[in-house]
Every structure is written in C-alpha cells, then in structure tokens.
C-alpha cells in the first residue's frame, strides 16, 4: 500500500508545473487515465488525473495566463471543468455548452487568464467520471497579501468513494430509489413512536410520509461509501505535520458526488477565513457543514505537542472521513466518539406544518413524489405553508439592516428602530448566555428541521448567516429582475428537476449582459441541494446588504427559500445545476444563455 502511495506521489509530482519559455504563461499537462483506487478495505477501478485519484494540486498565480493541456487516455469522451473559475465560456469544460468534449486520444488546450485567488477544484463534467475519481484541487496565489497569516498550509479534499461505479449507482437508484438507503424505519421504531405519541398520531404521521413515497431517513441517497481525505481512508490516515504554535491553513474542498460532511477538529477551534475561494470576515467555529462542491479555508493554531483528529462525519451519519494533524511522523490521532444516530427529517422540512395541511383536501394522488410539474403551482395551502418558518424565526433574505444581527425570536414585542439611546437598565434580565455563539437558530434551515446541525462539543456551528464578505466584489445595487427556480423532484422515479421540468425538456434561462438577476430558490423537495452556477459569482443573500458573501455553490435545505444575486458580466453560455451527481444526471440542470456583451472572439483549440 505504501508503494502505491509513493508511486502516486511521484506521478503527481510529474504532473505539476512545467514553466514554458514565455514568462507570463505557465503550462500544465494533465492526462485522464483509468486508475485503481485502493482505500485499504476497498479496491475499485476508477478514473484519475496523471495516474492517480485525486489528481494533482495545480498552483496558479493571480494575473497569469495559464495553459493546461488535457490528454484523454480513456475509451470514452471526457472533459475538465474548473470549478469556481471565472474564464471565457469556451474554457469552462462542459460538453454541449462550452465545447464538444475531449475524444479518446485527443488533447484539448485550455487557456485561462487567471483573475482571482483562493482555493478551488477541477473535475470531469462527463458521465460519472467525477464520482469515479476524476477530481483534483487548485490553489491560486493572490497578488496582494491575504488578510490572514499562516505558517503552513494543506489541501484537505473530501470524497465519498463508493465501491459501485457511478453508472451502476444511478441504474440501481432508478430501479429502487432507496437501494442505498439503509436506515429504513422498522417495526421497533413504530412501537416506540406509538408509546411516545399515541397510536393515532403515529399512524397519521406514517401515512403522511407514505403518501409522499418518501422516508424521513432520506437524507443521503447513496450510503455505503468510504469517506476519503486526500484520497485516503480513515484506516490509511492522511496526516499533516505542524510545529506547535504554528498557524496552519487548511483548504477544505468537498469533491464528493453526493455527500455533505460535518467537519471538526476536536480540541482545535477553526477560524473560517475563506468560503468558495472568497475572503470572508473571519469567524471562529467549532464545526462546519460543507456541502458538495463547496470550499472553506480555515486557520487553526495547534498549541500542544499532540495529534489532533480531523473528523468529517457525513450529514446522514452513514460514513466519515478521518485524518490527523500531528507534530511528528507516524502518529495517529485518537478517534473521537462517532455520532452514529442518523438525523430524521421532520414535517418542517416538508415546508409545512402537519396541523395546517389537512391531507384529505389534497388527495393522495397529487402529493405523490411532490412532483409539481402537473399540479398547479399556486396551491394556496402549500404556498403559505412553505413560507411558515415557525414563530418569529428569521427568514433568509429578509432585510436585517435594522436588526444588527441579533436573534429577535425572543423579543418580538420590542421595537428596535428606536434602540439607540434606549435605557437598557430594564433589560438587565436579558440573558446574554442564550445569545452566545451556538445557541441561535440557523435561519437557513426550516424552523424545527431535523437537519439543523449541532456542534459535537456543544460549541459554535457555522451558519451561512455568519458569512460576510471581507471585501465585497461588487457594489451593492438592487436587482433588475427576479427569477424563481423551484427545486423539484419525484423520489419514486428518482427523477429530479427545476420548476418540474427536466433539462432535456427545458428552455434555457436567458439573461442579459449587464443586468443583476436575483434568483429565488424554493426547495420543494426533502433533500438539500447545492446549486452551482458556472462562470459568474452568486452573491448569497444572508441579510447583510453590501457584506453578503460571494460564492459559487449555494446549498438550499428542504422547506426553505434562499435568494442569491448575480451580476451578469460574463458573455456566452453556462451550466447551472444541482451538484449532487445523480440529481444533475436525471435533470436538475439548466443552460444559462447570456445575451449581449462584448464581442466574444472565437477561441481556437490550440492545436
């Protein structure tokens, strides 16, 4: 096993920087190959770059013109997408939208003028090559000093490698949607619920879930994977070295096909300094959830001469990644207690409260699979209920400028517009401990959601609401129009869509160069979806006005509505899709066409 790792490292080293003769362009050569992935307990065939999976870490410099030659050594077409990079659309690597793809034996030359810095990643955008292992990382060094200091850094890329190939997984999901979902509720669970809630309530609850052909355990479609950190299983124990008191920058990338991970380092607080490659105002957390395709850069400062565990438990608790931060070679951190109990979705995640609904009115047929393609979209009960976020909880997208970030759910009667100069001596009873970090409800989860994360040590769990741009990329201005995108799907047929329409049946979304479009994502499904717009930044509305963070991938939890705005400043056509591989493949995808803009020169392949 050690030999394999050394071989992989050698091949990886060969695949990195080769400076060309001209000083401003750096050239990289990548090959796409069939590889064997050996995680100790599992050996599968897969796809990688330069002979290994994960592929190499590419290092670019902000301001340089990068040239990447990608040679396809597979028997089928491939493509390489640079996730989060701003570039000419022909270089974006999406077959059918950016270019025709790279045929077996062909070499495609990507030319990218690098105009950003931070942590990003790249992966195949063809078939299921990315779930099969075709992914790698990108570090772009900034021109100016970064607003944080660190003494060393590591890329920490997370993956959910499954023994089955991606193609086989989709076939099985289509045949039986809960094929890979092990946590079915049993008769034992039924009896326990009856004891707790009474027979009538339990029967009614089971009937609701049954009518939707869904199970409250459907948090993870695909279980049975091995969690990998930098390509290594918990057994193989990826290790990063440090000297005590050093500041270490960890560049977390979630390159998974389908899995969200809850990341923590017991004993170490993490200061989040970047999200999706963009600097954020630093926020200290004990744990964070990283959605598929997102990146988070954190600074940690291990002070003790001991090994720390990097724990990444999947959101559905069916698997985990494990690695070590150690002061010496050959150490293995102590495995912290695993949280094995899988969270259960609640009715709140359905976007409605059980009491209000009255399922008799709906008719079971309309509810099946929540596919609203046929049903009228403005069912009044659904519409209102979907907006019900419980008593006084703050809604994402609401104007918080008058509220100064405080949790007002306990103080609804108070008028805070007159707060300046108010005598707080009467408020002596105000319990600041409840307002301390970690106790506030996360507005990006439905009130009462079963998915709401809690830090394992009871401390602070990162929320989107904590993300504020360090330096806003765009001036804040009102959006010129709003586009609603309902995230829809039919679990029974394992078919996913947007506005009830699959990619192949849908019209492209047409945007005008120069406008500022506001996307309204309404999640009408029971799953969380990480939505990724290629080529242009998404300004996530966290209620911070000009400080709203800039991202490339935005997670939308069940039963919630999330807003993001995009300055349409890149001509061409772009992919826009859910980054869960099997959702994207079955239709949760759109082509975005940008009309107008500066004349786009036809770029040659470079051959």
């Amino acid at each position: 096993m050690k030999q394999r790792i050394v071989l992989r490292a050698l091949l990886g080293a060969l695949g990195t920087v080769m400076l060309s003769a001209t000083s401003f362009a750096a050239t990289y050569d990548l090959t796409v190959d069939y590889v064997e992935i050996d995680t100790g307990t599992m050996k599968t065939g897969g796809i990688g770059y330069n002979g290994s999976s994960p592929g190499p870490t590419l290092r670019f410099k902000e301001g340089e013109d990068v040239v990447i030659n990608v040679t396809n050594n597979l028997d089928e077409a491939t493509s390489t997408h640079w996730h989060g990079l701003i570039l000419p659309y022909q270089m974006d690597g999406v077959p059918g939208i950016s270019f025709p793809g790279i045929e077996p034996g062909e070499t495609f030359t990507y030319r990218i003028p690098v105009s950003q810095s931070g942590t990003y990643w790249f992966h195949s955008h063809s078939g299921f090559q990315e779930p099969d292992g075709a992914y790698g990382s990108i570090i772009i060094e900034p021109q100016k000093r970064e607003p944080f200091k660190f003494d060393r850094e590591y890329v920490v890329v997370l993956k959910d490698k499954h023994p089955h190939s991606g193609e086989r997984i989709l076939r099985n999901l289509k045949m039986m949607p809960d094929y890979y979902n092990r946590n079915q509720r049993s008769l034992g669970d039924f009896i326990m619920d009856v004891r707790k809630n009474g027979l009538g309530a339990t029967l009614s609850e089971r009937a609701d879930w049954g009518a939707m052909r869904m199970m409250p355990t459907d948090i993870e479609d695909v279980q049975g994977f091995v969690g990998l950190i930098n390509g290594m299983s918990p057994e193989q124990n990826w290790t990063g070295l440090f000297h005590p008191e050093e500041r270490v920058r960890l560049r977390f990338i979630n390159a998974s096909a389908m899995t969200y991970f809850d990341v923590r380092i017991p004993g170490l607080e993490m200061t989040v300094v970047q999200a999706d490659g963009n600097n954020v105002q630093p926020v200290k957390v004990d744990e964070f959830r990283i959605a598929v395709a997102e990146t988070y850069d954190v600074i940690v400062q291990p002070k003790d001469d001991k090994a720390y565990a990097i724990m990444a438990e999947s959101m559905g608790r069916s698997g985990y990644g494990f690695g070590t931060l150690a002061p010496h070679e050959g150490m293995r951190a102590e495995m912290p207690e695993l949280r094995k109990e899988a969270p259960l979705l609640t009715m709140a995640d359905m976007g409605m409260n059980h009491g209000d609904m009255g399922h008799g009115d709906m008719g079971k047929g309309d509810m099946a699979g929540m596919d609203h393609g046929a049903a009228p979209s403005d069912n009044p009960a659904m519409g209102n209920a979907a907006m019900d976020h419980g008593s006084g909880g703050s809604m994402p997208g609401m104007d918080h400028s008058g509220m100064a970030g405080m949790d007002h759910s306990n103080m609804t009667a108070m008028d805070h517009s007159k707060m300046a100069g108010m005598d707080h001596s009467n408020m002596a009873g105000m319990d600041h401990s409840a307002m301390a970090m970690g106790n506030r409800a996360d507005p990006f989860y439905a009130a009462g959601s079963g998915l709401t994360p809690k830090a394992a040590n009871g401390g602070k769990f990162l929320s989107y609401a904590d993300l504020k741009a360090q330096k806003p990329l765009y001036a804040d201005r009102p959006a010129t129009r709003e586009i609603e995108l309902r995230l829809t799907g039919n679990m029974e047929r394992y078919s996913w869509s947007i506005n009830g329409v699959k990619y192949e049946d849908a019209e492209p979304i047409r945007l005008k160069y120069g406008e500022r479009v506001r996307f309204k994502f309404v999640n009408e499904t029971m799953m969380s979806h990480p939505m990724h717009l290629h080529g242009m930044w998404s300004i996530l509305d966290t209620g911070q006005g000009k400080w709203n963070p800039v991202k490339h991938t935005i997670n939308i939890n069940p039963g919630t509505t999330v807003y993001s705005e995009t300055e349409v400043d890149e001509p061409g056509q772009w992919a826009f899709h859910c980054h869960l591989s099997y959702h994207m493949a079955t239709g949760m995808f759109r082509k975005v066409v940008v009309e107008g803009g500066p004349a786009v020169a036809t770029l040659k392949n470079g051959n």
Binding site: R145, P147, F148, K149, F150, R247, E269, T271, V273, Q281, P282, V283, K284, I299, Q301, A404, G405, M406, M419, A420, G421, M422, D423, H424, S425, N426, M427, A428, H432, M435, M437, K468, Q470, K471, W547
Partner: protein, 188 residues
C-alpha cells in the same frame, strides 16, 4: 474624529498619572480595569499609561487588513514608549496592550459589541457604544492601553512598561487575532 480619540486618551492618561502620583505608587489595577481583565482589574502588572515627558522612544504602528506591520516589539523594562498608530486598512482595527488572557476576554466583549451593532466591519457606531448596558458600564473604548480606529484614523498611546510580564499587542476585533493580527512584546 481622530482628535477626539487622542484628546480623550491624553486626558485619561494625564488624570491617571496624577492619581498615581498622589497614591505614591504605580496603579496597574487602573490600567487593567474598566474593560478587560474581568472588569475587576488583573493582578498582573501590564504597566501603566505614561507621561509625554518620560518618552524616550516612538514606535510607529500601521494597521492593515487584517495585520499589523510589525510582529514583534522589543522594549526595555520600565521604559516609556509613545506608539503612533495609523489605520491604513479598510476595516476597523484595535491596538491593545495586555496579556494573552486579557486579550481573550476582550475578544468576547468585542464579539458582543458586534452583535449589538456597536461595531461594524468598517465603522464604529459611537451612539451605541455609549449606551448604558444597565450596570453603569458602556462599550466605549476609553482604556489607556487601547485604541479602536476606523479606516484612516490615527491615535497615540503612551505606555510605561512593567519590569517583567509576557505581553502582546493585539487587535481583538472578532477573528482578527486568530488571523494573525497580534504581536509579542519582549521586555529586556
């Protein structure tokens, strides 16, 4: 704005020195009290506000986003140093002399300031800072060992260092200390 801060600190520094003269000894408790050190005054001697006439050295410190232009200062035990601090960044920063423990406490307080809206990334809301929290305390930054500056502002701190304490200068705006905006003060 800048002159307000300067004169306030001078005023307090002068009055504190005056008081200690009457008391016949240094008053470290004064310097530590009022904000950090658990509001009760730390037992650690972190030094005291100094007199302009005792100044033997001037150190210029530049605040940027999110770091100081220096990572280490070496001063003589008992020396009186005049710090001229300028905020060349685009964000609010603090310059605060104290022990690591004091800074940790202060960070909690500054986090609350942000929660209450008294402090934003790029500005200080003076009105909210002066709000009485109900126990006679305000969030105002008027301790002689620290200054809180908006972008473009400058201020001075004149400080007489103690004989032997492990001190750091730090910015305790949420997240800045962890990002590296701090430095060690070595006493010779």
């Amino acid at each position: 704005m800048p002159s307000f801060k300067k004169s306030l600190i001078r005023h307090i520094a002068a009055s504190t020195v005056l008081l200690s003269t009457f008391a016949g000894m240094q008053a470290p408790a004064f310097a530590g009290a009022g904000h950090s050190g658990g509001h009760g005054g730390a037992a650690t001697d972190i030094g005291a506000p100094g007199q302009l006439s005792d100044v033997r050295r001037t150190i210029r410190i530049v605040m940027e986003d999110n770091f100081f232009d220096q990572e280490k200062i070496i001063v003589r035990a008992g020396e009186t140093v005049r710090f001229m601090i300028e905020n060349k960044g685009e964000f609010v920063h603090e310059f605060n002399i104290g022990t690591a423990a004091m800074h940790a406490d202060h960070q909690k307080e500054m986090f609350m300031m942000m929660e209450h809206g008294a402090l934003e990334a790029d500005k200080i809301n003076m009105a909210m800072m002066e709000m009485d929290m109900g126990n006679g305390m305000t969030m105002k930054h008027d301790d002689p060992n620290s200054v809180l500056l908006e972008p473009g502002q400058s201020a001075e701190v004149i400080w007489t260092f103690p004989k032997d304490t492990e001190l750091e200068f730090a910015c305790n705006v949420p997240g800045h200390y962890e990002s590296g905006m701090m430095g060690k003060i070595r006493l010779q």
